[in-house]
Symmetry: C2
């Protein structure tokens, strides 16, 4: 095989000689790499898949997979791991990719209307769909694994607790949860810490689900949910938290978002920003932008801190939980696969493959790639009465 793709796959295979896998070409022939039974196979069903993998980067590969022009058999995580090895990444700095990069700034402004549309796109898939693979509390963000053996349910409960401890919640405090999702964290905080919570989201199904949950728990007097944007709050809270929402804000909005954050947070107040991010400034991956999170954008840690610092939002603790998100996504993928027939009935085969590629690709990105999970504790100014150490986060 002198085909350029074979040259690429040879180079990919050389990065992990111990991993046995194979490629099955269009003509029925196959290339085997590593010793032993192949743990994964890349199967080409169409010539266009080969072309797109060579020239289209993640977008081309992802679309070819969605459309069935190529298949992945066996261990999808191990196979996608090649996507973060140098030979594949090198291809991504293609001319087309560089053009996308150059044009990106024009797309960075997310208006309120666009924000609503983007969120609708993703989260209004319906609660029933997300129930198929999330935990019972519907936490759609990185869990916190005290050990690798934790169940997803335990790890999500531990995540909510870890965040509440970082926030130094006290009974009677008022907490704002920006991007509250299905209300899990807001309800946890109100039940365990006796705080009053306002949770906001742009997804009406989430508001309704969360309200019902609060009523069932008998705390709907203390926990309110609203279909509102962070631009339209106009109150001050002792504590502010946002989990997995900053990814939708958009680079151009960072100063405006953080300025609003500061206004929402009382002086000497404590806040926690939990977001996927990067080490360096990057443009959004085009496949994820097109199919999963239109308007989504991952911040470099230093971008957040530069804006926060200029606003007197002072970091006191920053934790990188990337391996926790890898574990979370790996478990989501297992549950998704176990329920894949239901997904197929709801949305068809192309969607099934699209969402699988999203979950698996993200898991691999956190474990082997450039994805990070930043959890930042930020104070408004410099309160001097907080605990001296973080030991309290780790009390049994």
């Amino acid at each position: 095989m002198a085909h350029p793709l074979a040259r690429l796959t040879d180079r990919l295979a050389a990065t992990r000689p111990d991993f046995p896998w194979e490629i099955r070409w269009l003509d029925g022939s196959s290339s085997r790499y590593g010793d032993g039974v192949p743990r994964a196979a890349l199967v080409f069903n169409s010539a266009s898949a080969i072309r797109r993998m060579l020239t289209g980067g993640v977008l081309g590969f992802g679309e070819a997979y969605m459309n069935g022009q190529l298949d992945i058999e066996g261990e999808i995580l191990e196979l996608l791991r090649f996507g973060f090895s140098e030979p594949f990444l090198g291809r991504m700095t293609s001319r087309g990719q560089r053009l996308t990069t150059a044009l990106q700034p024009w797309r960075w402004w997310n208006s309120l209307r666009k924000a609503r549309r983007d969120v609708t796109h993703h989260y209004n898939l319906g609660n029933a769909f997300f129930h198929l693979y999330l935990d019972e509390s519907m936490n759609y963000s990185c869990a916190y694994y005290k050990t690798e053996d934790s169940t997803l349910e335990q790890a999500q409960a531990d995540k909510m607790e870890h965040i509440c401890r970082k926030l130094q919640l006290q009974p009677g405090m008022r907490l704002l949860d920006i991007g509250c999702g299905w209300g899990g964290l807001a309800i946890h905080a109100a039940k365990r810490y006796g705080v009053e919570v306002l949770g906001i989201t742009l997804s009406q199904p989430q508001v309704e689900y969360a309200q019902e949950l609060a009523e069932r728990e008998g705390i709907s007097d203390r926990v309110k949910f609203a279909n509102r944007d962070w631009r339209n709050i106009g109150e001050t809270f002792d504590r502010v938290v946002s989990v997995g929402m900053f990814e939708h804000v958009g680079r151009k909005n960072y100063p405006r978002f953080m300025a609003a954050w500061k206004q929402l947070l009382a002086p000497d107040g404590v806040s926690l920003l939990h977001t996927i991010g990067k080490d360096v400034v990057t443009v959004p991956d085009p496949w994820t932008q097109r199919y999963i999170f239109p308007g989504g954008m991952l911040p470099a840690l230093h971008e957040i801190l530069e804006v926060a610092g200029s606003l007197d939002l002072v970091p006191v603790d920053i934790e990188n939980l990337r391996l926790h998100y890898a574990l979370t996504l790996e478990e989501w993928l297992r549950r998704y696969q176990a329920n894949v027939e239901s997904v197929r009935e709801m949305y068809g085969e192309r969607f099934v493959r699209m969402w699988r590629f999203y979950l698996a690709g993200s898991a691999v990105g956190f474990r082997y790639g450039d994805l990070r999970l930043w959890q930042l504790t930020l104070t408004h100014g410099i309160p001097n009465d907080l605990p001296l150490t973080r030991a309290g986060l780790y009390k049994d």
Copy 2:
């Protein structure tokens, strides 16, 4: 008093109406602020002090104090706290200050020769001098107070232990300590964790002191000290640490320093950078530059992270220990005052006042001002076998 200085001090006093203090003017009159017995007094001994305080910012005030043109009686920390209140800070954005800011980039390059000269200036004051106020292990950096009641000795031991835990030291590993001071951390790590250490500093008195200490402890086979610069090492270590040295590197050198750091640190290695810093990019305080740390410069956290991120040095944990440095400096100041007669004998009254102003001003800067203590844990690349949580840092 229609004097412009009286207008300024009236505005300062208004920021803390509960704090009783007084000003004693040249003509023998005094202004009293707050109710009750004055806890501090600002005493003017010369007309030029008044002029310099109005126009010279920290530099003018500090020099007037050093020269005895003004005195501070009573609680110096409480009085200097006014230096971080808006009315005084507002004056600092004067034309002269802005000019200094504009010219600063030309001074940012610290050559090796200049680095040697700067370090000599400060640390070669002599071990005997630093013994007068540091702890017995001669830790000349922020301690770690598990409680406010810890002794300085305990807090410095706890600091060294906290750092060793963050570094995930294992027996047999090789550790590089860049800016090892008098060797306290290197010796702690070798004794407690069985690692081999190379400690480097540009101060010959420090090298000799540390070597002697290692010999007395019977571990000089495993702990070496050398008068060397970070530019001239040419080896790789499992772990790299630097405590209170980055402040001397200089803004223009950050990329070069962090690139050297990456080369010194083995792939998948863990490192810890402990440095005073800021939330935003600032130019050095001119008084501190001139009298205490020539060539010193405090980094904004985002500056460090932007450089680190571009070099694949990945933050896993960042802690802001500013209150710990306030506690440390407050204790150093107490010990310094207790031994002030010895300092006076060694270096005279002007030095006594200069060093007191440095210790007190820094303490106040950490507690009420814009000084931060950043402790960053950075990995070379993304090792996947580190502990999932930070709980191990807080085990008894």
